[in-house]
Symmetry: C2
Subunit: 144 residues, 2 copies
Amino acid sequence: MFSKTCTYAIRAMLFIARHAETDNKLGIKEIAGGIDAPEHFIAKILQQLSKKGLVSSLKGPSGGFYLDKKTGKCTLADIVQAVDGDSLFTGCALGLSHCSEQYPCPLHHEFKKIRKEIHEALKSTRLSEFNEELLQQFTYLKNR
Amino acid sequence: MFSKTCTYAIRAMLFIARHAETDNKLGIKEIAGGIDAPEHFIAKILQQLSKKGLVSSLKGPSGGFYLDKKTGKCTLADIVQAVDGDSLFTGCALGLSHCSEQYPCPLHHEFKKIRKEIHEALKSTRLSEFNEELLQQFTYLKNR
DNA sequence: TAAGTACAGGTCTTTGAAAACATATCATTG
DNA sequence: CAATGATATGTTTTCAAAGACCTGTACTTA
């Protein structure tokens, strides 16, 4: 469903949401260790997200990544779009470039609804909400 | 959503369903030309599907690929599973190996419903049905 | 208080593996 | 034998991953 890069991005952001605040920033090593992801790869992804304003960061000693009031409000849809683009939400399931309402591919109408549901689900989920939810129920981000 | 191989497979099978019958078999060249796919690549995919019994084929002069009563009944879900496996239907959205009902990832419950819908949509669509539908409405399989 | 220095994110380049695509050869059948 | 699917192997492209190096921040210290 998502690209590997995208799943790492989501997991990293969820990890940050759970552990980091303005006065408690997380280093790349901590994040990579916390979600079992390659360090350099997660660094690259987070810098990409930071550039687009989805996560806050600070250089220097005791620096790191964190969420403030602004960045904490970003949705999972924002993350997916920043990493994978919006092909998941708008592209043709069969990869046909000219597929449209007027000239639909055989799967067009079936998948239009499903795509919308996926988009809605991701749009309605803010990182700030996960923060509490994650503390309550048992949800893992590690892969081993 | 699907891999590139998978979209080619679906398009090829839809093309066969529309044009081929037991007494009118389609060669690889015709199929490749009909859906704008690389010839040898589509051959490999169809042989894979043929091996798994999703499409009928015959060697020799005036041979080719076609659908009979048995193969015509296969669903789009069969094709997707044969090519991409069933990771799309069962795998974790975040790629977590231990994600389960008991230890769900943060997206588990949201996506369980969506996955099921995708599976249902693909399962309920038989190639034989598309045959008529395609003849009625204007649906393209080419990409240029 | 202003250089110096260590720390941590940011950028760019290179490597490695896998997916996508192509070529050549073999096997089957009318 | 000729047409056509089956198989095996090779090439290209893409993307995940790693490495080396740059830039900004904050603390130290004379």
